[in-house]
Symmetry: C2
Subunit: 358 residues, 2 copies
C-alpha cells in the first residue's frame, strides 16, 4: 500500500531538497521516479542509497504514480498537474499555479492542516505549497494570531538566492568571487549586481499598485491561509546576498493587548517554531542558524515603542510587537512543507468503501 | 583667514572618507594635520597631492587648529573634544559622545541646518554628526514630514560593514573568500559569521527594552533632529553582507493624507535626495547605486495596502506609504555630513565685533 512517488523538477534546488527530505524522514514509498526538463533528462541523482536517472516529463510519465511532488515552475504545473490529479495522482505543487484557486486548499500543516482533504485511495488532488515567504511569515506569527489576534503586519524581508533557484545561488557565488578578485560582476539571472549588494525583489512590479510579485503573493497567501481576507499587511520584499534562508523583520499590531511574557508563552508548544532570543548574548535568528533546519526561528521579541499606550510601564500589556523570523527557504519554505502535506494526506487516507460508487 | 584643519582618526574608514571629501569639495583650508591612535601614528596618508604622516593625538595636538573633524570613537571624543572646544576649536564629532547633550545642536544641514550656531572667529563648539542610520532616515523622510507631517515610522535596516569600521569591511572580505574556498569563517569583529549571512545589529541589546544600541540611537536622534520627541518609531537594525551603504525599508503614517503624486512631488527640490523609482525596469535604490554618491536615494514609493481607508480608489489620498531609502554610510552617513557642517559654520562665521566684550 506504499505510494509510488514522482519528483518533477528533481535536479532543481527545491527538487534536490525534496529528495533529501523524503530520505531523511523515511517517507514510506514503494518506488521513486524522477522527472525534469529535456535539459536535465539523462542526468543522474543519488538518493535512498542508489542512483536514479532523470527522465523528461511527458504526457504519460505519471501513469501509475500515487504522489507527485512538483517543483518545475508554474507553466509545467499548469500543463501536467490537472490531468494527473484527474487520473488519481496526489499532486503536491510547489509552484504558484494553483495557490489562489478557490477549490484548492492552501495549507501549511502546522497552521491550517485541518483543511487538507481526506482522500480515498485512487482519488487525486492538487495541493499547492505556498510561497516561501508566506510560509515563513505564517509559521512565525500563527501562535500570536491564535492567542491574541492579528490586526496589522508590517514586514520587510531579507530573502536568499535559493528562492530563485540553483542558478541564482551559483550567480551569487560566481559574482562574489569575481568581485573579490577585482573583476566586474556580470549579472545574468538578476537585474542588479548581487555580490555585496541587495535589491528590491526581482519579481515584476505591478505598475498600478507598486507591489512586486513576491509581495503580492505574500500578502494574498498569508490572508488565504489565515482565512482573513482583509488583514492589513504591508510588505517590502528584498533580495540579499545570502544562500538559502529567508529572514523577516516584522512589526505586528495585535487585536488584544498582551504582555511580553504572554507573547513569549504563546509560542510554547507551537510545532515547527524555535525561539532564539538571547538579549545578553545578542543571539537571535539568522539565516545561517536557520539553514538546513526544519524549524522556523523566532526571536528579538520586544514591545514596539511606537505603539505603547499612554502611561505604559514595563511589564504591562500592549498591542505592538517587533520580532525577527528566519526559516530555510528550500526546506520549510518549500520541500519540507511539500513532504509534510504528502505525509498528512497519505496518513489519513481512508480504505476504499466496501459499497457505493467509485 | 582659511582655517587650520585637523582630522582625528585619519586612518579609519570614516577618516579616510573625510580626507577624500575635503579634497573633492575643495574645502578652503590653510593647513591639514592628521592624528590617530598610537597604533596608526607614523603611517602615511596621501591627500591633496602630497603625503601626510599621522601623529598620535595628545593634549596639545590641537593647539592652533580652527576645525577638528573627529572620528576616533566616543572615548577619544570625550577625552579631547571639550578642552579643544573651550580653547576655540570647532569640533565636528562623528562619535555618539555628545549627540544627545541638551546644549549641543544635532544637525544634518539639509534637514535642520538653521540650528547651527553663528560662531565668531576664535569661538569653539562641539557639533556632533548624527548616527549614520539616523542621517539616512531623516534625509529620506524630511521632505514628507515638511509636506504632510509624520505620525509613525516603521523601519527595518539593511546595514553595511563600513558602519563598524575598516576592520569589519576586511572581515567581510576575508570571511567571504574563506567560505568560497570551503574554509570555515572565523568571526573576530562580529559575534556572528558574516559571509553570506546577516544578523541583528551587533550593538549591545538593552535587557529591558530589547532595543539594540543602534535602534535606540536611530529613534532618539531622528526625534531630536526633527524636534518631535514623541514621534512613534519602530526600528529593527540588521547588519547585512554589504560593504559601505545602508538601505532602509520604511513604512510611514502621514499626519495629513496625500496622493502618491503629491508624495513624489514633495521631494522636488529637496537637496541631497535623488528619486530612483522605475517600476517598469524594477529599478530602485540599492546600496551599490548609493556607494560613493553624495545623494541619498529614495524609491519604491507606493501606497501601503494596510493603511488604505475604506472604499479607497487608486489616485486618492491616503496616510500610509512604503518606500526604500539607500545612502552611503561613510559619505552622507558620516564624512560628507561632517564636512557640510564645517562648511556651513565657516561660511557664516561673523567677523569679530568692533566693540563689546569677547
Amino acid at each position: 500500500m506504499k505510494p509510488v512517488v514522482a519528483v518533477v523538477g528533481a535536479s532543481g534546488a527545491v527538487g534536490q531538497e525534496m529528495l533529501a527530505v523524503l530520505e531523511q524522514r523515511r517517507f514510506p514509498l514503494a518506488e521513486l521516479r524522477l522527472f525534469g526538463s529535456a535539459r536535465s533528462a539523462g542526468s543522474t541523482v543519488r538518493c535512498l542509497g542508489r542512483e536514479f536517472t532523470i527522465a523528461e516529463l511527458g504526457e504519460r510519465s505519471l501513469d501509475g504514480v500515487d504522489l507527485a511532488l512538483f517543483s518545475a515552475g508554474a507553466s509545467v504545473s499548469r500543463r501536467f498537474a490537472p490531468a494527473a490529479a484527474a487520473a488519481g495522482v496526489v499532486v503536491v505543487d510547489n509552484s504558484s499555479a494553483f495557490r489562489m484557486d478557490p477549490g484548492v486548499p492552501l495549507v501549511v500543516p502546522e497552521v491550517n492542516g485541518e483543511r487538507l482533504p481526506a482522500l480515498a485511495p485512487g482519488r487525486g488532488a492538487i495541493l499547492p505549497v505556498a510561497n516561501c515567504s508566506a510560509i515563513i511569515l505564517v509559521m512565525g506569527l500563527t501562535a500570536l494570531r491564535r492567542a491574541f489576534g492579528l490586526r496589522r503586519i508590517v514586514v520587510a524581508t531579507y530573502q536568499a538566492a535559493s528562492g530563485a533557484g540553483a542558478q541564482a545561488m551559483e550567480e551569487l557565488r560566481t559574482q562574489t568571487a569575481d568581485v573579490l578578485a577585482g573583476r566586474a560582476p556580470s549579472p545574468r539571472i538578476f537585474h542588479e549586481p548581487y555580490a555585496f549588494n541587495l535589491f528590491s525583489h526581482n519579481a515584476p512590479v505591478d505598475p498600478d499598485t507598486g507591489l512586486n510579485g513576491e509581495e503580492a503573493k505574500l500578502i494574498a497567501e498569508a490572508r488565504r491561509m489565515w482565512d482573513d481576507p482583509s488583514l492589513g499587511i504591508s510588505a517590502t520584499c528584498v533580495r540579499v546576498p545570502v544562500m538559502r534562508a529567508h529572514t523577516q523583520a516584522v512589526n505586528v499590531t495585535l487585536v488584544r493587548p498582551a504582555t511580553l511574557a504572554q507573547v513569549r508563552a504563546a509560542y510554547a508548544g507551537f510545532p515547527g517554531v524555535r525561539i532564539v532570543d538571547d538579549r545578553a548574548a545578542n543571539g537571535f535568528p539568522t539565516p545561517l542558524k536557520a539553514s538546513g533546519q526544519d524549524d522556523t526561528l523566532v526571536g528579538r521579541l520586544r514591545e514596539d515603542p511606537s505603539q505603547l499606550p499612554p502611561g505604559w510601564r514595563p511589564g504591562e500589556p500592549t498591542v505592538g510587537y517587533d520580532l525577527l523570523i528566519a526559516g530555510d527557504q528550500l526546506r520549510k519554505g518549500a520541500a519540507l512543507t511539500a513532504v509534510q502535506i504528502a505525509e498528512a494526506v497519505f496518513a489519513r487516507r481512508q480504505p476504499p468503501p466496501v459499497t457505493g460508487s467509485r
